[in-house]
Symmetry: C2
Subunit: 422 residues, 2 copies
Amino acid sequence: MKEHRIISLETRDARFPLDAGAGSDAVHSGSEYAFATTLLSSSGGLYGTGIALTLGQGNQLVCEAIELLGKGLLGQEIEELMADFSAVAQGLAQHPQLRWLGPQKGVIHLALASLTNACFDLWAKARGVPLWRLLLDLSPRELVNLLDLSYLEDVLTREEATAIFDHHLTGRGDREQIVRRGYPGYDTSVGWFHYEDNQIKDLARKAMSHGFRAFKLKVGSHDEQRDLRRASMLRELAGPDALIMVDANQQWTLPAALKMCQALCSVSPYFIEEPTHPDDVHAHRKLAEAIAPIPIALGEHVPNRVMFKNFMQAGAVHFVQVDCTRVAGISEFLAVSLLARKVGLPVVPHVGDMGQIHQHLVLFNHIAMGHEALFLECIPHLQQHFVAPVRIENGTYITSQTPGCSSDLKGVKPERAMAIQP
Amino acid sequence: MKEHRIISLETRDARFPLDAGAGSDAVHSGSEYAFATTLLSSSGGLYGTGIALTLGQGNQLVCEAIELLGKGLLGQEIEELMADFSAVAQGLAQHPQLRWLGPQKGVIHLALASLTNACFDLWAKARGVPLWRLLLDLSPRELVNLLDLSYLEDVLTREEATAIFDHHLTGRGDREQIVRRGYPGYDTSVGWFHYEDNQIKDLARKAMSHGFRAFKLKVGSHDEQRDLRRASMLRELAGPDALIMVDANQQWTLPAALKMCQALCSVSPYFIEEPTHPDDVHAHRKLAEAIAPIPIALGEHVPNRVMFKNFMQAGAVHFVQVDCTRVAGISEFLAVSLLARKVGLPVVPHVGDMGQIHQHLVLFNHIAMGHEALFLECIPHLQQHFVAPVRIENGTYITSQTPGCSSDLKGVKPERAMAIQP
C-alpha cells in the first residue's frame, strides 16, 4: 500500500449562509452554519478533511485550536497513526496545558473532533474505501485500539468493548443488507423555530411526498400555546402513524419542562429532545421519571463520553444523540455508541455534519454492534457545498460508495496537497 | 457619583514564567501561568481588570473570545450595568451563536469569567471600595440581581437566594470581626508534583515557620508507592495536628481512585481533591460512599453552576472549590456559594487568581451568607506581577483595603484609559 505521511495541517474557517429562519430554535438563531475545517495533506497526494460544526461566530477560535493541538500529527504515517489511535486521541485530549481550556469540552474539544475526523477521512481515502467499509473491515481488536475508553471503566472495559464487537460478528450478513436498502431518515427541516405555520405545513407536505414519515418540530416558545398549536397542526397534517419529535433545545427549566412535556403528550411525541440544560443529568432524570413512558433524547451538546456515561447511568436519556462533530470525532462517537449498546439504548445521531459522516457511522453501528437501524436526521441546507453530498431518496439515505468520510467541501482544499498532486 | 461609561474593551494575553516544577501536577505541566485579561476603560478615567487563568498555551483563544463576547458592554454605564447584571450575564452566556461553543464551558465560558470580573473591578473602583466592601454594602435584592440563577430552580429559587442573604443580616457584626483578624490560609506550593522530596521538606518547614498549619500535596503518580511515601513524609514532618490535603488532579480512574484513596487514609487527609474526571458525578458519588468519612473536594474544573448543582445533589462533593476564574466570574461564584450554603457545604475556592479576587469573596461568603471561614488556598508564584498582591502574614490573608478586586497586573493597562487619564 502507498505510504501516506501527513505533510501539512491547514485549517479553513468555512462559513455558509442559510436562508432566513433555517436552523433557528428556541435558543439559537443567526444566519449561518460553519465548519471549523481541518485539512491534512499526505505525502501520497491525498488529503483528509475534518469538520466540526459551529453557528458561525467563533468558528475561527476552533480553527486556531486545531492548529495548536494538531502539530504533533505532522510527519506521521496514517496507517501507523491509526493503528493505536486510542493513545493518540488520549494524548491530544490530555495535552498538559491545553486541557485546562476544557478538559474535553468547548472549543478545544471541537478542535479535537475536527482533527480526528480528518485523520479518519485520510485513512479511508488511503485505503480507497468509504468510512463504513473501512470500519467494518477492522477486527474487534483494531477497532478498540481506535478508542480512548479511559474513565469509562465502571461501565465499559476494553475487554467488554472487544466482546461487543466479537459477539456481533455473528449475524453480520443479515444486517449488511441495510447497505443495499439504505438507512431510514427523518426530516428536521420542516419545523424550524422561526418558520411560520404555513411554511411548516408546506414543508411537511413536501417531505411526505418525498417519502418521509418522521418529522421534528422545534418548541420552547415563551408562548406555550404556540408550541401546542404547532405540534397539533403537524400531527393533524402528518396523520396518526407519522412519528413526530419535539425539540426544546434546552430552553426549559425543570419546572417548565415538567409542565410542557405533560402538555405535549397530547400529540404523542416519539421523543422529547433537549428539554433542559445539557449539563443537568439530575433534572433529566427527574423529568424522565415524571413523564414516563415518553422518552427523552439528547446529546447534541453533551461534550464527551464521561458525560454520556453519567446520563446513561442516571436513566436520564433514552435516545443517544451523540454527534461526531461535538465529541472528539469519529472515535469518541464509537466509544459512546458502545456504551449505549452496553446499556441497551439506541443511537440516533445529531447531525452537525449534515449527515455526511454519520451516514457511515449508523451503518457501522447497526452492522458491527447490532444497534437498531432506527433513523438518521436529515438536514438538507448545506448539501450544495459538499463534494459528495448525501443522497436521500424516498426518505432513505442511499449508501455512499465514495472513499473517505464524505466530508470534503467544494473549494476547500489544502494548498500543499494541490501543489504535489499530479 | 461620577459617571463611568465603558468606552473601550481591550484584552491582553498576559503570560508569566514559573520556576521549574512549580504548578506541576499529575496531569498538567509546563512552565507558565497566564491570564486572559480584560481591560474595560471608563469615561470617568478608571479601568477594570478581569482575569481568567490558563496554563499558557491557548490563552490567546480566550482573549479572542472575550472580544467577540464583550462587544455589547461598550457604551454601558457601570452602575446601570450592574443594577441588573443577572440579565447581562445570562444574555452573554446565552449568546445565540457563541453558546454553541459551550454552552457555559470551555474557552467561551473562561472569556465570560474574565469579562465579568472586569465589570466587578470597574464597579468597585468606581465606588472607591474593595470588592468585599462593595458586596457587603448591597441589599439582598441588589445581590440577587447580580446573579444568573436559571436552571437552579429545583434547588434554589431567587426567593430562597434572597432569603439566605436576609437571614444572615443578623449576626453580621460578629462575623465582620474576620476583616480585622484576616482569613486563614493554607499552603499549596509546598508539594507540587515534580518537586523532589527534599524540596518538599524544605518548603514545608519554611511554610510552618511562616505560620501555616495546612498543606496540600500533589498525588496521582503512576508509582503508587511514591504517593504514599511522600504523603507519609509530609505527615511526619508537619505533625499529627496539621491538616494535609492530597490532590490527584483527575488522574485516577474510578477503580484506581477507590484503591488509592483507601491507601491514603493512612495519612488522615483532611480531604482528597479531584480524584477522577471532573465531569464524572456518578464516579465521585460512588467513591464518596466507599471512602466515607474521608471527604472529597473538587471544583477547579467544574465549569458552571449547573454541574455544581449536580455534584451537590448526588452527594459527590464535600468541599466546594468553585473558582471565579473558571465559572462565569464573580457572579457565578456567588451563585454556587449560595447553592452550597443551601445544601450545607463549605466553599474553599480554587485560586486560579492566586487568591487576589477570592480573598474578597471568602470574606463576603462568611459575613453575608454565614459560610464557615475555613481557609483559602495560597499560591505565591505570581505575587510580584500584581499591582496590589495579597498579603499573607502568619498563615493568614490580611484584608485588602484597596478599591477594586485586586486583579490589576503590573504593566497591563488599557491604552485608551491612559490616553484620557490626567
